[in-house]
């Protein structure tokens, strides 16, 4: 069993501890141990980039959780913001050369743009699209994601070489540190991404206690009643969509930094699966909960890691071609039996019994 899988499983267990809202002492112990685990991981792990990827997709899921979980608007197009964030960071921060006219500004400016540009895009897109509800909103966001990808494919330069996106040939990221510093770079990256991911969870914790957060919950529960109670539903929804875009955009920028190049294609930064992964992660952990994306990101990665490791076991080579099928089956079982995610098991008042699963099936069937 790989060491990273152990870290992920420990991560799930400790995050579940940390999420015990009604037992503050247990929660503090959980947060403390989780912090310790995550600080030690890069020094012990043989492949810390795998753990870095957990945090990147987790950060993107935190974004989806704000619009899909807190506000009840299931976006199926988060990859649009993921890609926009990646392009914003690369265009801003990558060192310009003969092949590409990027701006070469400091990397932190790039990350500010990676949050800001998707948020602005969400403002413009959200204005019309957030008037739709349910399936129609989902389909519209799906369309937005496809449209954004096609725009990046076809637009090379805007305004006489002022802003160049590279069209279908994409953009390369000039290495910020020399090859010799790659080891240090990977450490630094691990901790900065971890800090952003943890920061986003702390932000959501604060959000769920703020007036803005309660406004979002009210919209999710009943939009008409929320409006009558004095909530400006239009702006609250747009605000949530912008926040979601900003978090997902930041995550996309990190993916670009790790990959070293971006192309406006489905197998690069506009991978449609990203839109689904962020939803699956929130479903795994618990939609609309503060810790859900954290638990979900660990669980999702642990399943992937486990299936990966299984392929190496003699007699299990066939798993390679069946990974997605098995993963899909797990997601179906989860939605049927645990629609509120893993957190539902521990949040259940009567403690854990197998009846939870049956009750969910009964309650959710029409």
């Amino acid at each position: 069993m790989s060491l990273n899988l152990v870290f992920m499983l420990l991560g799930i267990a400790l995050t579940v501890l940390a999420s015990q809202r009604n037992r503050p002492r247990l929660s503090m112990v959980g947060i403390g141990l989780l912090g310790l685990l995550l600080l030690l991981t890069p020094f012990i792990s043989n492949n810390r980039d795998i753990m870095t990827n957990v945090f990147i997709i987790g950060l993107a899921s935190v974004g989806w959780n704000v619009i899909g979980g807190f506000t009840g608007y299931a976006s199926f197009g988060q990859v649009a913001f993921w890609g926009l964030g990646a392009y914003a960071a690369v265009v801003t921060s990558s060192v310009p050369n003969a092949a590409q006219a990027t701006f070469g500004l400091p990397i932190w400016v790039g990350f500010i743009m990676a949050a800001l540009v998707p948020a602005l895009a969400a403002l413009v897109i959200g204005w019309p699209v957030l008037r739709l509800r349910g399936h129609y909103f989902a389909i519209a966001t799906l369309g937005v994601a496809i449209a954004v990808r096609e725009i990046f494919k076809n637009v090379d330069c805007i305004g006489n070489q002022l802003l160049c996106l590279g069209g279908s040939s994409g953009l390369q990221i000039q290495p910020i540190v020399k090859a010799a510093d790659r080891e240090a770079n990977s450490f630094l990256r691990y901790f900065v991404i971890l800090a952003m991911f943890a920061g986003s969870v702390v932000f959501c914790w604060y959000l769920t206690r703020s007036k803005f957060g309660y406004g979002l919950f009210a919209i999710r529960e009943n939009e008409e009643a929320a409006g009558v109670l004095g909530i400006n539903t239009t702006w609250f929804k747009i605000g949530a969509f912008c926040l979601a875009a900003a978090f997902t955009g930041l995550a996309g920028a990190w993916r670009a930094m790790v990959n070293g190049s971006i192309y406006p294609t489905e197998d690069s930064i506009f991978d449609t699966n990203i839109s689904l992964y962020v939803i699956i992660i929130c479903l795994l952990g618990g939609v609309g909960t503060v810790w859900g994306p954290f638990i979900g990101a660990f669980t999702y990665s642990a399943i992937q890691e486990f299936l990966g490791a299984l392929q190496g076991v003699p007699g299990f080579g066939w798993v390679l071609n069946w990974t997605n099928v098995i993963f899909g089956a797990i997601v179906i079982l989860l939605v049927v039996f645990l629609p509120k995610g893993i957190l539902q098991i521990v949040r259940n008042k009567g403690g854990f019994t197998w009846r939870i699963f049956l009750r969910n099936v009964r309650e959710n069937s029409i």
Binding site: A218, V228, L229, G230
Partner: protein, 261 residues
């Protein structure tokens, strides 16, 4: 500004397609009164409340609150101005606790601008005490009984610190003793200085708490006056109360049921 009239409805008309739900209705709600609004099902009572609270826009006519025209204003603006309402089909925030439900009203209503989230929860506790739901405050609102949910609707509206509260059939589905409790609650809210517009089928409530009554039928106003005046009006008896109600009243029988049942 007209000191006595809190709400002025002038020629309000609402067409859905070609069908008129409400036609040319005019009346005032005076500051500090309890005004009853009665009429058979489909008479346009809820449509009228929808137009006042901004969830429906009048096709013609104007609705003024403290001399300010409400037509075309969004529900959340109207809510912040000091108009709160309940829904006939209750709309609790099911996955939030009872206290959270009420706190949301306290956060975003007329008094909400100055309140922090914590202060809104404190206000929510007060309101729950007032409507006697304090023992359920940490329960999910979906676990409440019908009577409880009706009370929660009232509490959410009250927490907004409104000047006028529009009650859309908060008694429907309640049992005898529950109706009495709810009537006491309405009087207590009124003593608090809040103007009330009460839609109700239970005539005992209308006669018991309202100072004036407006009667609608087929989207038109057919009578307006004190409960005694209105219940002796032939048009009202014909359209809504029925002859049995009048006969029972004459014999001194208490009419517990609504005229329609």
């Amino acid at each position: 500004m007209n000191e006595t009239n809190l709400l002025e409805i002038r020629g309000a008309t609402k067409l859905y397609g070609g069908v008129a739900a409400v036609t040319d209705i005019s009346f005032n709600v005076q500051r500090g009164e309890i005004l009853g609004l009665i009429g058979p099902n489909g008479a346009g009572k809820t449509t009228l409340v929808n137009m006042i609270s901004g969830t429906a826009v009048p096709t013609r006519g104007t609705i003024k609150f403290k001399d300010e025209v409400l037509n075309g204003k969004k529900p959340h603006i109207i809510g912040k101005m000091g108009i709160a309402r309940t829904f006939q089909v209750v709309k609790p925030f099911q996955n939030l606790t009872v206290l959270e439900n009420v706190a949301v009203g306290a956060m975003f209503g007329k008094g909400g601008v100055k309140r922090s989230s914590a202060q809104a929860f404190k206000r929510g506790e007060e309101v729950l005490q007032f409507v006697h739901l304090e023992n359920y405050r940490h329960d999910l609102s979906e676990s409440l009984s019908i009577a409880g949910r009706k009370r929660l609707e009232l509490a959410k509206g009250l927490a907004m610190d409104p000047e006028i509260l529009l009650l859309d059939e908060v008694m429907a589905g309640l049992r005898g003793t529950e109706v009495d409790e709810a009537m006491d609650l309405i009087r207590a809210i009124h003593n608090y200085g809040i103007t009330l517009l009460v839609i109700e089928h239970v005539m005992k409530v209308i006669v018991g708490v309202c100072q004036r009554v407006v009667v609608l039928d087929y989207g038109k106003k057919i009578a307006e006056g004190t409960p005694a005046e209105v219940t002796s009006e032939p048009a009202v008896i014909q359209a809504y109360l029925g002859k049995r109600y009048v006969a029972n009243q004459a014999q001194g029988l208490t009419q517990e049921q609504s005229p329609l049942e």
